[in-house]
Amino acid sequence: MRPVYAVGIGITKFGELWERSLRELITEAGLAAVADAGIAGEDIESMYVASQSAGRLLGQEQLGVLALDEAGLADTHIPATRVEAGDASGAAALRTAYLSVASGAHAISVAGGVEKMTDVLEDEVATAFTSNSDMEWEGFFGATLPALFAMMARAHGSEFGTTREQLSAVTAKNHGHGARNPGAAYRFPIAAAKVAQSPIVADPLRVLDCAAAVDGAAAVVLANDEVAARLDGPKVRIASTAQGSDTLALHERESLTRLESTTIAASAAFERAGISADEVQVAEVHDVFTIAEILALEALTLFKPGEAAGATEKGLTTYEGKVVVNPSGGLKARGHALGATGLAQACEIVEQLRNAAGDRQVDNAATGLTHAMAGTGGTSIVHVFRAEGGGR
């Protein structure tokens, strides 16, 4: 397979963007990524666009062609396809674009993701979220995603003694990071003590344990080694991509505290990249709930089972710790724009490895990963990124 580089990134502000349409958002992110790469639109050979719920919430499918057309590139007639894998859709689009370049089929491919969540009523958003789980065996019976993750949190507490304070530490840490991210939807710190005082959603999860659905778009331009060598910009190589699956319904799994799909994906991603988990300096993980970040850190083998919660409380997942987790603020503070989230994670890691992340720069960052997940872990996608030739 050919080496693949992330040569351009583009991301919109995340948030309740009531004045911005789906079309505007994906176009802004796409054009920014193309400009950042220093290529022309006509150079693009394929396009993959992720969205979890545009079909359901806005009645718009065919987002691949929509994005291509809005960018003024319909007359290139290149393949443009929508990719859907629940709230891991963005990472799935990135992986698909990666494979199209690595296979040699295309020299330059663009992966984009977009979600417009705030144009509809809250119930519809909740249903869209829940559709990441098994609608027949979970959603129908009222097991929403918060309810399912609440069970995972309880099981984790029972197995490892994970505490309320440790869950709160995830929120406090991610908001501390997000406060430094100009594009974050919720750009303010939250004290850990405030989390336990916020309204209950599904015991033990409270409002401030949950990531909120927002609007946003992000895009990454991928190119093969030959194109990347020609371009002026900094070189960030996507060292590996890996995807794992599990049962769709949580109750079918052997354990409520292990994310097998993540473990499988991480193990394959590390092997293909030729690194060990210890080498990861910065990670963007799927903190859709506070417990999800704890579970992910353990499944990614960044921490041993039962140790991620304590490590978070001790500050090992922030600056000057062991690995900086969610420097962007994560889904919690940047906001969760479903289909755009996986690509927003990639944009953050690329910025970090370019040494261009400003106030939230992780010192000497050279190896980073992104972890996206759908629902309770039916799908997990891990990408490993490595800087080549130093930062910008």
Binding site: E16, W18, T118, L121, E122, P199, I200
Partner: protein
């Protein structure tokens, strides 16, 4: 000089506490009452509706007015809970007041600001000399679906203003409106309860319109917040008006008298007007009043009002708004459900 020549208010006697509503829905922990700053809300009794509340408020206005019912040339009733979808409330009010048939009448609807729109229409009618006095009413028995966030605040009340050019007790020096198509809250034909767009009702709806309109009024009137003795804002709860006032530069003390939502909830079309009634109940000659209404959909009407010497001889006797608020009977949720027609009774069964 165009202004208010008389006014009247009506608030139903029954109250339900927000704690009682939260108890029924198992939402005690959310502390809805505290977060909305609404302790209790008024509830219309079984024999009260928007029409009766309008009539009561208008009768009080005419009873203490130097201008009798035969001077009335226009009646506009603003509400989002008119009893009939087709058939005016205004004609019932006219008949109840004994106003002559040579008058123009219409019902207004603009969510919570239909009453302030009615005042502006009356200002035009009397200012142009088309009629001698006009009656503008804001009245509602607003609906909140059982268990919905609106149920904690949607209440009932009415205020009536007689607008004229002679014996003016409060001159309306300036008025300005700010209106856009912003769908933050709506109820379609045939629907029993309204729908609201959650957080959307705050920033792009209430705050944008209230603050834009309020700031424009200050500019038009050439005034500063400190020039006013009283400020009254539309009060969908006790939190929004406090924050809007502070953003425009008003002090909490200026807003105290006109802020009724913590004690009676959101009376919708009556809300900002009942606040103005409460201020007129105690204001002295020369007092300056800043009023900004808001209606979902969305728009704001703002008024710069100055109390005149005429108020010294005006009959401000009981019941004052404070009297109406104090005259209260607290009911439980079951009684509330019965009074509000939320219980389907057997008589409709085949």
């Amino acid at each position: 000089m165009v202004g208010i020549v008389s006014y009247g208010a009506r608030i139903p006697r029954y109250r339900i506490t927000t704690d009682e509503i939260a108890r029924v829905w198992g939402k005690q922990e959310l502390a809805m009452g505290r977060s909305l700053n609404v302790a209790e809300k008024s509830v219309p009794g079984p024999d009260e509706d928007t029409t009766t509340l309008s009539v009561e408020a208008a009768r009080q206005a005419i009873a203490r007015s130097p201008h009798a019912a035969d001077t009335i040339g226009a009646i506009y009733v603003g509400s989002e809970s008119h009893v009939y979808a087709v058939k005016p409330t205004a004609t019932i009010v006219a008949a109840a007041l004994g106003a002559p048939p040579f008058l123009t009448a219409a019902d207004f609807e603009f969510a919570c600001k239909a009453g302030t729109a009615a005042i502006q229409a009356c200002m035009g009618m009397v200012g142009s000399g088309l009629v001698r006095t006009g009656i503008a009413i804001g009245a509602d028995t607003s609906q909140g679906a059982p268990g919905d966030a609106l149920e904690y605040s949607a209440s009932a009340g009415a205020a009536a203003f007689q607008i004229g050019t002679d014996n003016v007790i409060a001159e309306i020096g300036h008025t300005i409106s700010f209106t856009t198509d912003t769908p933050d809250f709506w109820r379609r034909e045939g629907e029993r309860y309204p729908t609201h767009a959650a957080r959307f009702t705050g920033e792009p709806a209430y705050y944008r319109h209230t603050l834009s309109c309020g700031a424009a009024l200050l500019e038009k009137a050439g005034t500063q917040p400190a020039d006013y003795d009283f400020a009254v804002f539309h009060q969908p709860n006790g939190k929004f008006p406090t924050r809007a006032a502070s953003k425009l530069g008003f002090e909490p003390k200026q807003c105290e008298t006109g802020l009724l939502a913590p004690r009676i909830g959101n009376t919708y079309s009556g809300a900002v007007l009942l606040g103005l009634c409460a201020v007129l109940d105690i204001a002295r000659p020369g007092a300056r009043i800043f009023v900004t209404g808001y209606g979902s959909g969305a728009g704001s009407d703002a008024f710069d009002i100055t109390v005149t010497e005429q108020i010294s001889t005006y009959q401000r006797s009981a019941p004052t708004v404070e009297d109406l608020i104090d005259d209260r009977v607290v009911i439980d949720y079951a009684t509330y459900a019965k009074y509000r027609g939320k219980i389907v009774t057997a008589e409709v069964a085949p």
